[in-house]
Symmetry: C2
Subunit: 157 residues, 2 copies
């Protein structure tokens, strides 16, 4: 598992290094696309949380699986291409909250991104178990991975 | 294929009918989430188009697959829950462009949505062939399915 995360982290760093060449997107478009991806993931995180963590809504295994599929697909989509140089300043749907520290420690970024991807993939797998307690536990692991990035690289509102 | 689309369309209509009970989201949040989903799909449509339709960027089979995976996952996510009654007026990231005609012909909505989902699933499958011409052809089929909804239910900017 540790080696797998290491390789994923390396891939993220390599992708970041070539982001400018590949993106051909304005900084504001990069920001808009990444805000869209995170916001759409947040809808799906919210659906899973309501069903298996908070119990506000009856557990629907098929819907939780579809939500986990979306989160995993977005996590694996190669969003590092949306973090080109200078994209710590700019406005997509709203001004970005990305801290400039992001570009000063890409090893750490890669490690955090790799962990996020692994936890999202695990949630997709665990969703298939249809065991709401196991899904809730893995949901919390993924939420912690999201939080690590927010704590390090996202400014407060 | 036709029967499959018919069943998908039925599922979409049923989901629409129960959207209010399930969503527990404000109209503005429904609009923000669906705008996010479509915008994130548009990034991924753009990546596929650049590589296999326009040829602006070298074809990277793994990246095209990841992009097609995202589009299929979002298409299958159950976005009908984000089209609750009254959500033809409101503001997510920006004011919605959904026409009120959407709620007046849910059979047609279900048919169009079903076609969109089928074409997105097909693109995900065809991406695995690593045949850029076949992917380009299926990309165009999916783009037409998107366009049908825009032509019927999205107001001009």
């Amino acid at each position: 598992m540790r080696q797998l995360i290491g390789l994923t982290a390396l891939a993220v760093v390599v992708a970041l290094a070539s982001a400018t060449a590949m993106a051909q997107l304005s900084v504001d478009d990069q920001i808009k696309f990444r805000q869209s991806g995170y916001t759409f993931m947040s809808w799906n995180m919210g659906r899973i949380k309501a069903q298996v963590v908070d119990g506000d809504v009856p557990y629907d295994p098929a819907q939780v699986q579809r939500a986990a599929d979306v989160i995993a697909a977005i996590a694996n989509s190669g969003m590092s291409a949306l973090y080109g140089p200078g994209s710590d300043e700019g406005t997509g749907w709203k001004p970005t909250r990305l801290k400039s520290e992001f570009f000063e420690d890409l090893d750490k970024v890669g490690e955090i991104a790799g962990r996020f991807i692994e936890e999202a993939n695990s949630l997709q797998e665990v969703a298939a178990s249809e065991d709401p307690d196991a899904i809730a536990s893995q949901f919390n692991n993924l939420a912690r991975a999201c939080g690590t990035c927010h704590d390090n690289f996202r400014a407060s509102e």
